[in-house]
């Protein structure tokens, strides 16, 4: 029986890479005493597949993996037993049962939404000597970037330099942006994710910086994923939790 698990990855766990998160959940599932199914052969492995890999340094409250279980417990019990095994920063939020014919999460991911926080890295210094010039730079930078958010979407094309393994090319990322807004001093963005088209929030920030004439430095921004989405039959973007139902 196939189950979909939604989890949170936050705090210092953002420095744990995707492969290690997979291993983390394999061990957590065993510790929780849940009856996960294994492949056959000399090196059996848990039947588990992850939805959309999260880049190192990014936090999320909308991560998913699918797993095959021999026997089930209720959704609440799943959540409780997983959370007894979590370290600081990791939490299981919800569990649903998928229909037998459900496609795996990785293949259906179509979008994700994020909050991007503009950081004031100088105020974090422990020695207490704040650099006035830089602090001023921070608030100016923030105001400027936030004010440009509504303008960015009005442009016909939004061009950024995208690097692939082989080459670099200028690309219009506008089709990948579903929503872009300012919410409580943060930038909210809803972007295309998945095998069909994948747009990283960093690329949008880069485009904003370019628009503002500010040099982009990835350490000035913190990215937090809110939810991962798929398309339903009507073609609307809905949460991956919509694929199934909670287990009572």
């Amino acid at each position: 029986m196939k189950v979909r698990i939604k989890y949170t990855k936050s705090g210092t766990m953002k420095y744990i890479g995707h492969l290690d998160v997979m291993r983390y959940f394999q061990k957590a599932t065993k510790r929780a005493g849940l009856d996960i199914a294994y492949s056959k052969g000399f090196s059996p492995h848990q039947l588990m597949s992850f939805a959309a890999p999260l880049a190192l340094g990014v936090t999320s409250e909308g991560e998913y993996f699918d797993a095959e279980f021999n026997t089930l417990v209720s959704s609440d019990e799943f959540v409780r037993r997983y959370n007894e095994q979590m370290v600081d920063g990791m939490a299981v939020n919800d569990v649903i049962l998928l229909p037998d014919n459900a496609k795996n999460s990785m293949s259906i991911v179509a979008g994700s939404d994020y909050y991007v926080t503009i950081l004031d890295r100088n105020s974090n210094t422990e020695d207490g000597c704040s650099d006035d010039e830089n602090n001023l730079g921070y608030s100016e930078r923030k105001t400027k970037l936030l004010s440009l958010v509504p303008h960015l979407l009005k442009k016909e094309t939004i061009e950024v330099l995208r690097k692939t393994k082989k080459n670099e090319k200028v690309e219009d990322i506008k089709p990948g942006i579903f929503k872009l807004a300012v919410v409580e001093d943060k930038i909210y963005m809803f972007l295309a994710t998945g095998s069909e088209y994948n747009l990283k929030p960093e690329s949008v920030v880069e485009a904003l910086c370019k628009e503002a004439g500010i040099e982009y430095n990835k350490f000035d921004y913190h990215v937090h994923r809110l939810e991962t989405y798929m398309k339903n039959e009507a073609g609307e973007l809905v949460s991956l939790l919509e694929s199934g139902t909670r287990i009572e």
Binding site: T12, K30, G33, P44, Q85, F219
Partner: protein
């Protein structure tokens, strides 16, 4: 959530930031306000290596069971972070609370191999703790050393305040109690160390004076005060079943070298191979109760979620309940979701049956460690394995479908001749012929024999502690000769021969049997930029050679020189139970090629019986 010691920018820039953030499963958390003693445990190598070490897990668990003590961990920052920490003046920090290691009461460093010595200095310097013990004050932690290399601590004696000689499970409570009491009373650092030196097993190097003869050998080794013991008797756990064992070991997030549950089934070895230090220093052999091991296996798998379990001991085939325990693991633990990782076992019907059950025969190989190529030399080193035993085991395995064989040898053993060296390829040829004696339709394709040779390094507390070591050039010539002889064998195409690098082995030879004069050399090597010497990609022999030259030290004094049995050796002040007289007798028997029976066949009176337990008393209560 703990605030990390490193900034986001640094963590995103360096390799594998998971090495430095802690927060692993089963990590112990305590309120710093509620503890009196802070102990920082260190393995002076990179996280993945250090986290794979069982000893630290045992002590971490044991210390943290004390309510007044909080034990944390630190490992060597990889060179990428090392550079950043120096540039930005970031003090080395513990993983749990991310606080500077200088703020701890104790820093305990485990010494598993000689080539980690420069990393010890890296830890101290990055930790902003004075590198030389004499420069430390009450504001600095008391720096402890332990582990196998502390059986000759002299080359690094001046960097440590105390060496714990022997097994860690026994005396730390006393040390902590004494320390806490004396700190409360406002004692000086000198007084605290003086008192610790009177606790059994504790060696405080600053309490001893060494003088040398003109030829460089030791003239005298004396305690500075009457109440400091002249001899340190190693500490040993006698009630092995009641010894603490970490039932909730730490589970790292990143992939480490030993990503599995490890069960220590036995400590010590009954065999008495004359080159083997572990076989002597852990005497007498003690076995863990099999029912207790079964309980540990169940609990530790449940507490970690590991998918592999392995057994730890020096010679698992000698564990008397091995059969029962192995079948228990296969039948009741493996359950299709836990791999059983087998230790190297004597090849017989039992081990082949087990191997067949837990491994893919097509992929797995048989392992033999004859260590020497001829029976003559195997008798000299007291390695009981005979050609007949190897051939019998190999034939059984070949008939069972195996076709891969691995052999481990040493080159440069005492009294080794050209004929002994040539015996290595000849033994491999004999095994190949045995394989091809099986009818074609009954065997599994071609045989593949891999032989590897390492450079023999004489170690303290072995019968070979007096033996000269070959110089690197002679060793290399011998290795080349063996390689040439391999090419001459009829089945040369089925064989592969590899041998280890010589420079590192020669240095290990110096450090293993070194004295206090080497402290300055190690310091100078470190200051010239050497760290991670155990890693081929970072090891730089030139730096070592320059430091020897600068200090006017001849490596041959430590390596190729044959010692007289009457010479005062740097480690003579340690009593491991096994007497110097027994080791000297064994050295003599080696010269005559006489085999000494193992502890279960017949007691040879090595001296370890004085501890009052283990194999010496098996079946006698």
């Amino acid at each position: 959530m703990t605030k990390l010691a490193l900034s986001d920018e640094i963590l995103m820039e360096i390799e594998k930031p998971a090495r430095y953030i802690g927060n692993e499963v089963n990590m112990v958390k305590k309120d710093l306000e509620s503890v009196d003693i802070r102990y920082c445990m260190c393995f002076p190598d990179v996280y993945e290596i250090g986290m794979s070490h069982l000893g630290i897990q045992i002590l971490y668990d044991m210390f943290n069971k004390r309510e007044d003590t909080y034990c944390e961990r630190v490992y060597s920052p990889w060179p990428d972070l090392d550079k950043i920490m120096r540039e930005q003046d970031i003090p080395l920090f513990s993983l749990e609370t991310q606080t500077p290691i200088k703020d701890f009461d104790f820093l305990g460093i485990t010494l598993q191999y000689e080539m980690c010595y420069t990393n010890v200095l890296q830890i101290l310097e990055l930790g902003k703790i004075p590198v030389w013990a004499k420069d430390r004050t009450l504001d600095d932690p008391i720096v402890f050393g332990g582990g196998p290399c502390s059986y000759n601590p002299e080359p690094i004696a001046e960097f440590f305040d105390v060496f714990y000689i022997g097994e860690g499970e026994t005396r730390y409570d006393e040390v902590f109690d004494v320390y806490k009491d004396m700190r409360e009373k406002g004692a000086t650092r000198e007084d605290i160390l003086h008192t610790i030196s009177q606790i059994p097993g504790m060696y405080v190097p600053s309490m001893y004076l060494v003088t040398y003869k003109e030829d460089g050998t030791i003239a005298s080794f004396e305690p500075k005060y009457d109440d400091v013991p002249r001899t340190i008797i190693k500490e040993i756990v006698l009630d092995f079943d009641s010894a603490p064992y970490p039932e909730k070991p730490l589970v790292p997030h990143m992939k480490v070298t030993q990503d599995r549950v490890t069960l220590e089934i036995m400590r010590g070895c009954i065999r008495g191979c004359r080159f083997c230090q572990a076989g002597m220093i852990y005497r007498p052999t003690r076995q863990k109760n099999v029912e207790l091991l079964k309980k540990y296996a169940r609990e530790m798998i449940a507490n970690t979620g590991h998918e592999e379990i392995s057994l730890s001991s020096l010679s698992s085939s000698d564990y008397e309940c091995l059969k029962e325990f192995t079948y228990f693991l296969i039948d009741e633990i493996s359950n299709n979701d836990v791999n059983i990782s087998l230790p190297s076992l004597r090849i017989d019907a039992f081990s082949l049956d087990v191997m067949k059950k837990v491994q893919d025969v097509k992929k797995s190989s048989l392992t033999f460690a004859p260590e020497a190529g001829t029976q003559r030399l195997r008798d000299i080193i007291n390695k009981g394995l005979t050609e007949e035993v190897i051939l019998n085991g190999a034939m059984q395995a070949f008939q069972g479908g195996w076709n891969k064989v691995k052999f481990y040898f040493m080159l440069g053993l005492p009294f080794e001749t050209e004929e002994d060296a040539e015996g290595i390829p000849k033994l491999c040829q004999t095994v190949a012929e045995a394989y091809y004696s099986i009818p074609k339709e009954e065997r599994n394709g071609k045989v593949a024999i891999t032989a590897s040779a390492s450079f023999f390094v004489p170690k303290p507390f072995t019968p070979f502690q007096w033996a000269p070591m070959l110089d690197p050039q002679t060793y290399r010539d011998r290795a080349h000769h063996v390689k040439d002889t391999f090419r001459e064998q009829t089945n040369a195409k089925s064989m592969k021969f590899t041998y280890h690098e010589t420079d590192v082995s020669a240095l290990e030879g110096v450090l293993a049997r070194g004295d206090r004069k080497l402290n300055q050399v190690i310091y100078d090597v470190y200051k010239s930029g050497a760290i991670f010497d155990a890693w081929t990609e970072w090891f730089d022999n030139e730096k070592w050679m320059a430091a020897f030259e600068k200090n006017d030290i001849d490596m041959n004094f430590y390596t190729t020189r044959e010692r007289e049995v009457t010479e005062i050796l740097p480690w003579d002040f340690i009593d491991i139970g096994v007497s110097k007289k027994f080791l000297a007798e064994e050295w003599n028997r080696a010269k005559q090629g006489i085999v000494t029976p193992n502890c279960r066949e017949k007691c040879s009176g090595c001296g370890a019986a004085k501890f009052g337990g283990g194999v010496c008393f098996e079946g006698k209560n």
